[in-house]
Structures are given as structure tokens and as C-alpha cells.
Assembly symmetry: C2
Homo-oligomer: 313 residues x 2
């Protein structure tokens, strides 16, 4: 989704996908639907509501089509889903999503470990997905989410050039957007600023979102650097729920609550209401009792004289 | 202390002062000395080892002179202390510190609540301290640490102009350095970048350190912004111990371990060894059993392919 004119930054909530898939328990579908409604009600414009993947691999995502159907009923919500392959893409298209995200590991060892595909196999799959979209679902957007773009626990160092080569290949294959993910929490602000700047040089307007994890407490520091490089879409997960089950040592996404506070404090409009966002945690407490949540704003509050960006102008 | 040539950024450890003064229990002196030794042994070049304040107000700091004496015995360590007034300055000078930090609240209500002085009274005190230094302790540096520079729970919004006016006044009164403190965790990266840039315009080479709290998880994000504004000295507290007992809602300083990791990851040399820094927590566990410590790096580790900045070149 291109950023609307009444917001400056699009906060894309990935908790229902990245969060829930990292938790062993499955959240009951009815509570997921309530949660997604609460997230949308808090002002989030884009939600990645699930993953179209084999329920044998991720039983937590077995109800993805049902969650998509519900999300599509919420006015103004841009509904996205993760899909690892053509089969998942077909299912997501059939379910009616507005956008799919294809995770592409820049690190080939990570790709093989994560989705059991070499780069060559991944490229073929992307080509098939784009062809299917072009032929039968022309309105659906396709984002390539480049995971391990900043380093990988398996491969080790991932060079800028490797990441950019995959980004360019994705553009050639016809995706609409290329985002960068710090899957295992290795990114530092200088690297983030440099790589997103180079990404924009390489693929222009296709340069997409930033997906950061907060493994080493550096998530919001990387947001500052990405903002400087012109990034306007950031993934976050309510309560920091989430992580990558295939990447040892990975921990949760940046916390949506803290991200929204940071952006609004900086004078950047997100359209999100922090009180309603905090209230949306209720459904996580109900659906995943005892699951730890993270974040500073829910505990510390916004501070006495906080104003939303729109009011601060 | 001016940054030495073999490091890019000076990490100034304030745990033995800001950390310990916020904890109700008093750490036994012998363990404090071991802790300070361990911190210096980890490569920290500057440590604020205590506060010369009435032991009735802060019994945790009653042994400040003894800690200073020990710290002075550690080779190459720059020894600093906080002093709220002339009496404290005299004691700190007598103890032999290399530098004193005078906390100056930009917010007058905070000043009155914190040290029971109006701005006019604070300025008189600074003048007296500078006069004493000039006359009898010419080698000791004086830093004005401008607290509530980014906002105050009592006054509310603190404008850039208010902060800069105090900074300029401090320069006129003869201090050697003016630092800015986000006492209650209100600062955002745009404000930090702007205010440190303006500080440098206003007082030139006297522009000093950044002292951030991590109340809303934004501490390291603010470090990124301050780096861009040319700041080369950052305060941190081992394990995030610390806070301001007079500012409701304030929580700990940024975590030294996470700060050092961030800087080194960005290619900025700190001279600090992360393993030895983590080991220094031992003395906090012994001296303040059960006291919660914070930080990501001690749990997550540095990541498989981390290299210190000096090695990365």
C-alpha cells in the first residue's frame, strides 16, 4: 500500500503472522478475528493477517483464509499475507488478499533451511507466482521480503551486494515492492541507512518496507536510520510477539506500541491511537494466556505532555 | 575528557552514581570498589563514581571520597563525580576527582524539587564553584549537565530556547563542558538531533555529552540521532541500573552493554570489551542481590559474526 495522504508513515502490523507463528500454542480463530478487529480499530491500515503455508508446518496458521475473509470485511484495511510458494500464493489469491509477501532469504543456507529451496528454485517460484497474479489476479500486489538482508546466523555476514543482487532480480521478475528484513537482529543503523539508500538506487520506487527485530535492543535505532534513507513503511508486532522459528537466536519484532510512540513523537503521523492499540493486547492475553509481551510504552505511558503529530503541527 | 585518538566515542559509565543513587539499598563499599575496578578493566575510560551530596539525602553515596580514592589508583581512568553545590564541589575537589558534573535543571520547577534552588540561586552556586576551581583546583574540569533538557514531568514541555539559554549562561559562567540529559525519557530523535546541533552552534567546543534514559525504549534511537549531531560522549549504566528518584516515571539509563554493542557494530571504536563488561555485572549481583538488571546483549549475545570496530576496518 502506498502511504495515504493523511499519514506520513505506514505501520504494518505483522503480529497475526510473524507473532503467532512463533508461538507454539494456536490462538483460537474467534479470538484472532477479534484481535484483528481491535488492531484495525486502533487505526492500523495494513495488517499481515496470516501465512498460507502447510498446516503441518505451522498449525497456528491453518485458519488463514478465515482470518483473511474477516479482515476484508473491515473498512479501509489493507489485508496482506505471507506465502512461501506458488501453492500458498494460489490460496492467498483465492482468499482475496490485497497483497502477498514472498519471503526471500538473501542467505542461501537460510533459504534451504527455511523453505528448502535454493535461490534458483526460489526465483522459479517467484516467476510462477507473478505469472499467476498477472493472468488471474492482476489487482493483487506482490512484495518480496528479503530476509537475512543484514546478516544470517547460518551464512554469517551478508554483503550489501548480495542483498542488492536479489533485490534487482526480484524487480526483474516483476514484483511490486522489495522490503528488507533483519531476520536475526544483526542490523546496525549505519548498515540500515546505507542498504536502504542503495536499495532505492537499485530498484527506485519499488524500494519497500523495513522489517526489524529487536533482538539486541537496536530495533528503534534502526528505524531512525531507515527514516533517513526514506523508508515510509515499518513492520511492527503488538507486544513484540514474534520471531523466526528457523533462525536460532532470533527474538521478536519491534514493538508496535513503541514504534508508534517514537514516530508520533518525531512529528510523523501514523494514524494509530496508542490507547486503543494498548487495549488490543486484551485479545492476546485471552487467546494466548501467559505468553510474554514486551514494550515500554504500555508500562511507562506516553509521558505527560505527549501530543500526536497531527496536533503538534 | 576529550576523546582519545584510539577510540571514536567515549562511553562514560554512570552506574556507580546514577544507578546506585536510584536503588534503596546501599552497596557495600568494598564491593563498589571491586565493581569500579571491573568496569575500568573492561575498558571504560571515564566513570562517574559517586555523588558528593549529603549522606542524609543519599546514604548510598556516603562513601564517595573512598570510591574516588580507589578509582584514582586505576591507571588511565578519568574519575568524575556529581556535585549539587559548592560544598559538594569542595569535597569532590579535595577527594581529587578529575571532573565534576553540576546538574542544572532547565526546568525551574524540577530544580526546586530536586535541589531546592531557583535558577538564580543555581547560577550563583555555579559561579562560586567555578571561582573555587579557578583559584585552588585549576586542573579539574567542570561540566554542566543540563537535566530535563528535553522535557519535564513537572514543568511539561521544555523549549529548545530555554535549554540553549541555560547552556549559554553556563558557558559565560566558565564551565568547560555542557551536556544534555533526558532525565525523564521524553526525548525523541528529531529533538535530539536538533538540540545538540543548536547546542554546538551556541557554545561551540563546549558542547558535551548526551545522557539518555530508556524510559520508553527510545534510548539507542536517540543515540543514533545524537551521533549525527556530532556527539562523541554518551553516558550509560551497566545493566541499565539507575534513574532519577526525583522525577516520577523516570526509569534507568541506557544500558552500557547495549550501547557499546551498537557503537562497535556501527564501526565506532569504544575501547570497551563486551565480555569483560558483562562479567562486571557480577559485582552488582553480589552488592545488590535481587536488583533487576536490564539489557539485550547480556541475554542475546553479540551475534555470531560480530567484530569490534577496530577489527572491522
Amino acid at each position: 500500500m502506498k502511504t495515504a495522504t493523511d499519514i506520513d508513515i505506514l505501520v504494518s502490523e505483522v503480529g497475526p503472522r510473524d507473532g503467532l507463528q512463533s508461538v507454539k500454542a494456536s490462538m483460537p480463530t474467534e479470538l484472532k478475528l477479534q484481535w484483528v478487529s481491535a488492531l484495525a480499530g486502533a487505526g492500523l491500515r495494513e495488517i499481515e493477517v496470516g501465512s498460507f503455508v502447510s498446516p503441518k508446518l505451522l498449525p497456528q496458521m491453518a485458519d488463514a483464509a478465515e482470518v483473511v475473509a474477516h479482515a476484508l470485511s473491515l473498512p479501509g484495511l489493507y489485508v496482506t499475507a505471507l506465502v512461501p510458494n506458488l501453492k500458498g500464493a494460489q490460496a492467498a489469491f483465492d482468499a482475496g488478499v490485497h497483497k502477498i509477501t514472498l519471503p526471500i532469504s538473501v542467505s542461501e543456507p537460510h533459504s534451504i533451511s527455511n523453505i528448502r529451496k535454493t535461490h534458483a528454485q526460489v526465483f522459479e517460484e517467484v516467476q510462477a507466482v507473478v505469472a499467476l497474479r498477472n493472468e488471474r489476479f492482476p489487482d493483487v500486489q506482490i512484495e518480496a521480503g528479503l530476509s537475512t538482508a543484514f546478516g544470517c546466523t547460518l551464512q554469517g555476514v551478508v554483503s550489501d551486494d548480495e542483498t542488492l543482487a536479489i533485490a534487482v532480480r526480484m524487480a526483474e521478475l516483476g514484483v511490486d515492492e522489495v522490503g528488507l528484513s533483519d531476520t536475526v537482529g544483526y542490523a546496525n543503523p549505519n548498515q540500515v541507512r546505507r542498504l536502504f539508500t542503495r536499495l532505492r538506487s537499485a530498484v527506485g520506487e519499488l524500494a519497500g518496507s523495513a522489517h526489524f527485530h529487536n533482538t539486541r535492543g537496536q530495533g528503534l535505532a534502526n528505524v531512525v536510520a531507515a527514516l533517513e534513507a526514506g523508508v515510509t513503511t515499518f513492520d511492527g508486532s503488538l507486544g513484540g510477539l514474534g520471531g523466526c522459528p528457523y533462525a536460532p537466536g532470533a527474538s521478536g519484532n519491534i514493538v508496535t506500541e513503541d514504534l508508534v510512540w517514537l514516530l508520533e513523537s518525531m512529528g510523523l503521523r501514523t494514524g494509530v491511537d496508542l490507547d486503543r492499540l494498548a487495549a488490543a493486547r486484551e485479545w492476546l492475553h485471552k487467546g494466548l494466556p501467559g505468553e510474554p509481551l514486551y514494550g515500554f510504552i504500555p508500562d511507562a505511558g506516553v509521558g505527560k505532555h505527549f501530543t500526536y503529530a497531527k496536533e503538534a503541527v
